[in-house]
């Protein structure tokens, strides 16, 4: 079980900022995204723009294998606009 955090446009599309999700311990970043879109289909429109932050490190959506521990933080990161 991981904590999924939603920010900015992704929070608006998902309708929430935070939830726990049950996911496989090993999963590619793309598979993890697909799992999240299954729960929140409206997120599909931003698929080409988002990256993940897993344990506060950026991860692109793709084949990268994630090894997740219970309680890990996974954040959906839409294009940033700080400064």
């Amino acid at each position: 079980q991981v904590s999924v955090l939603y920010f900015a446009r992704s929070a608006e599309l998902a309708g929430l900022r935070c939830e726990t999700l049950r996911v496989p311990r090993q999963v590619t970043s793309l598979q993890l995204w697909e799992e999240i879109v299954r729960v929140h289909p409206r997120l599909a429109v931003i698929q080409d723009q988002v990256v993940f932050a897993v344990r506060q490190e950026y991860v692109l959506l793709g084949d990268q294998l994630l090894v997740l521990q219970p309680g890990d933080e996974v954040a959906i990161i839409p294009p940033i606009s700080g400064g």
Partner: protein
Amino acid sequence: MDESKDVPKDFIKLKSEKLSVDEVSEMVVSPSCGAVSVFIGTTRNNFEGKKVIHLEYEAYTSMAESEIKKICRDVRQKWPSIKHIAVHHRLGVVPITEASVIIAVSSPHRAESLEAVTYCINTLKAFVPIWKKEIYEDEYSWKENKECFGANSEK
């Protein structure tokens, strides 16, 4: 003067209150430094002909702080003579013309602090998870930095 007070320090703050240029620049002043360089990011009142009413910022706070710490670490590697670094970013509603970000850096001579401040703001815009929403009269828009790291970086 107590020399332990002059150890190089990073001052990083994300807050919803109004930012103060005086406060941020005074944090980095040091007796061994002849230069303090400051960047202030302020909010514009227009975008593509639309009137901007105000901005709203949100952040992945814990990661934003750690990414800013990484920027400070990189700055100290690239410019070892840098003394203090301060990065203050405002969150929540920011009215037009008020500062959304203030970066101040001190160094013995001016070249390093000027370069370091430029590096800080450019890298912040590319890597720090903070988002800006522009509120117009009848709609709003989530902005995207052209420097932004992520899916766009491959295009």
